[in-house]
Symmetry: C2
Subunit: 457 residues, 2 copies
């Protein structure tokens, strides 16, 4: 409990400091109302060439710094230390004890060297990024720190990887794009679900034409987080606060990233516009009523995020995407993961498929029969090892691929344009819902380069 | 084949005649563009009192006329002749042979009397409605005849029942409402899915509070009709044509009617506005390419209805509804039938439920455990007999309830305000999709009476 309290105090101090300079944490409506709606620099040509398709420099060993060594940071560390040719050169957290937990974990994984430690206040990462032994800074902090840390890393000449969402205002999405282009450093939003077994299986099938011409996909983050959101530790210390700030899809990328790959977003198609609406807020208020004592400080909070945010996205090619977010309701987990084309349809939770001419007419069938032919090569290669890791194995595949791309001098699987496009439904869903579900245009973060056909992964 | 050809010729002749007078079959955009958008008379007080909650007159025997004795009409006839105290007094169809098939069916069901026959052209129903031995006219024709037949019946002092959708323009929805109020006759849109086993089970559970406070529902008509749409008989003769006229949700009521009951639409809540978007049209074009010979007259058709129409509806109480329509894709059947509240969630296809505190945490479970307590009384009473009939039994339950309400002098289960509200997403989804998914307001067909709390069924 004392650990929790000090961690929370430090965090809130950090928020206040950061808020003074960057106004993150504020509703994206603020930006809109002050006349910079949905991306002030939209259409503005960049001063530097695109980062799309730009390969990393080759290197033997990948030197990684991790900012944020809480639950997620240590989980990421676990995966990365299991990949060969990785060196963890620096760790940063406002809570020194969490850094030491991370170092202990490195020891167990056979990484017997001393990483540099940074824990002096919420801006310690500013010192970290100055080092010359870091190839990429991996950010696994609360959401409000993603943008400043990523910007600092790129401005200091480091590639930047961040947990999701990369940003939650359109202005910040543009800052990431502009800074990546100017500094020639990549910004990768580490969407682990893009490496999920089913997601990569369906992606492979889509590329092989099994679904025919694609027309629709479904994506969600429907995950009952009520208990976690109200804990006095870990995510409970900062994540619930976002439910007091914005009525929007707070966390769009876990479902959207994978279907963006399948539909070739920024690889021949792009998100054109979104409409969104939310149910009333009921879930967190009910949880608090049912579980919090009358003198809990949480009774001062006012939750504004509707329980279920439902959006529809239209793409430039006219395809449609259903997008949902619900972390405040009793319900089984689902990211929906659906894909529909002229030949058939896949839906997940549970995984099931129907391809015309295969199996019984108009009946769902198992995806198992497709695995022999369409299992993604990454899973064929890594599956056994991956499955012992986090989130069913996707976390290890993601860590492996990050290191592989950096070592072999490949372009990253996803770039700053993906980070911006997949994060943008956060602020755009808020704007749409606030304006009676009016359609909101996506900025073209790629400045026209989206139309070039490229394969995903 | 000769039967089909003559039937088709007669049908097209009927369309031309009817079109001259009533302009049905035209896109609802026409009405909108000429300045009568989404219901010209919205807000206009009626000249007559509401029909909401108005009981039928009691009677011993229910005398029914059926207009349209094709596949659906004869199926309805089969159910009605299985209900006691029913007399089929008149039959109408443009094809006399179909009337005789209906009469043969009556004989088999023990109805050994002569119904009056009307088959002189597409307006023969105008003679039928003049008879004085009819309590209610049941319309099971192609969609374009629903409104003129229902109006003729009410204007002739008969109650009117129609297959779905009741109408597909907002103007026509208002005509139904105004005429029902003026003539004091009921207009019932016979939405059989409102009587489905699962739908009534979930409705009963919702009324008992099992789901807690309701916040979201899902509804669809996702049914691969491609083969049927291209047949040279039955629905293939007229239904495909609608895919050349409107880019919209052509058939919204099978999914929407049941969830409208669950959410208490027109019984304390109402549809406020809708946003909609469609995928490109690909499915019918592909089917034609794969199946039609090069000299088929169908190659002259241009399909404009996007394969999947996705809509979101916001209610006055702030709840949300997901609504889909897809009859042009290879896919398993689904009406979605989902309902979500603060205590849990139900989804159909396959039926599964999660209620907090019951069963394994965050796992779907079967609905079977709820049947003993929450099976709807109608199914408890009629289930065994119903299941031998059409559509899993819902058709018999519907027929039984229609006769029961008419005999016992009850208000109908659904009235003209339901017919209008449940049909309205057809034209409103077209308007929204055509305007880049802009939100379209529902007219308040009930003129304010929606706010009165009433139980559904």
């Amino acid at each position: 409990m004392s650990d929790s309290s000090s961690s929370r105090r430090d965090l809130l101090k950090g928020m206040a400091l950061a808020g003074a300079g960057l106004a993150f944490g504020a509703s994206s409506l603020g930006a809109e109302e002050s006349g910079t709606a949905s991306g002030a620099p939209d259409g503005t040509p960049s001063l530097a060439p695109s980062m799309m398709g730009v390969p990393f420099e080759k290197r033997e060993t990948v030197r990684i710094a991790i900012v944020g060594t809480g639950l997620r940071g240590r989980s990421v560390l676990h995966e990365l230390t299991g990949v060969p040719n990785v060196r963890i050169t620096a760790l940063c957290d406002t809570v020194p004890e969490k850094i030491e937990m991370a170092v202990q974990q490195m020891r167990k994984a056979g990484h017997d060297y001393e990483p540099a430690r940074f824990s002096k206040g919420p801006r310690a990462y500013e010192e970290l990024v100055k080092r010359d032994d870091i190839d990429i800074v991996y950010t696994a902090t609360p959401w409000e720190f993603h943008v400043p840390i990523v910007l600092a890393a790129m401005n200091a000449g480091k590639h930047a990887a961040t947990e999701v969402p990369a940003a939650y205002s359109i202005e910040d999405c543009w800052k990431l794009v502009d800074t990546s282009e100017r500094t020639r450093r990549h910004c990768l939003m580490m969407e682990n679900c893009n490496y999920g077994y089913n997601e990569l299986l369906v992606l492979t099938m889509a590329k092989a034409g099994v679904f025919g011409e694609l027309k629709h996909a479904g994506a969600a983050y429907n995950h009952d987080l009520r208990e976690i959101l109200f804990e006095n530790r870990d995510e409970g210390l900062w994540r619930r606060r976002h439910h007091t700030l914005r009525n929007s899809n707070l966390y769009p990328t876990h479902g959207l990233g994978p279907v963006a790959f399948m539909l070739g977003i920024n690889r021949g198609d792009r998100f054109d516009y979104i409409v969104s609406m939310s149910t009333p807020e009921l879930g967190l208020s009910k949880w608090r009523k049912d579980h919090e004592p009358a003198d809990s400080p949480k009774w001062k909070e006012k939750y504004v995020t509707g329980d279920l945010s439902s959006s529809l996205i239209k793409t430039a090619k006219g395809r449609t995407i259903r997008l949902e977010h619900d972390v405040s309701s009793p319900r089984p987990y689902s990211r929906i993961n659906s894909l529909q084309g002229t030949n058939g349809i896949f839906e997940d939770y549970p995984a099931r498929i129907y391809i015309e001419g295969q199996g019984e007419e108009h009946r769902w069938t198992s995806i198992d029969a497709y695995k022999a032919k369409y299992e993604h090569p990454l899973w064929r290669e890594l599956g056994e090892k991956a499955r012992s890791g986090g989130h069913g194995g996707m976390d290890y595949v993601m860590a492996y691929r990050l290191v592989q791309c950096l070592r072999e001098g490949l372009p990253p699987d996803f770039d700053v344009y993906d980070a911006a496009a997949w994060s943008a439904p956060g602020p755009l869903s808020e704007l749409s819902a606030a304006k009676g579900s009016a359609p909101m245009k996506f900025p073209d973060f790629s400045r026209g380069k989206w139309a070039e056909e490229r394969a995903s992964l």
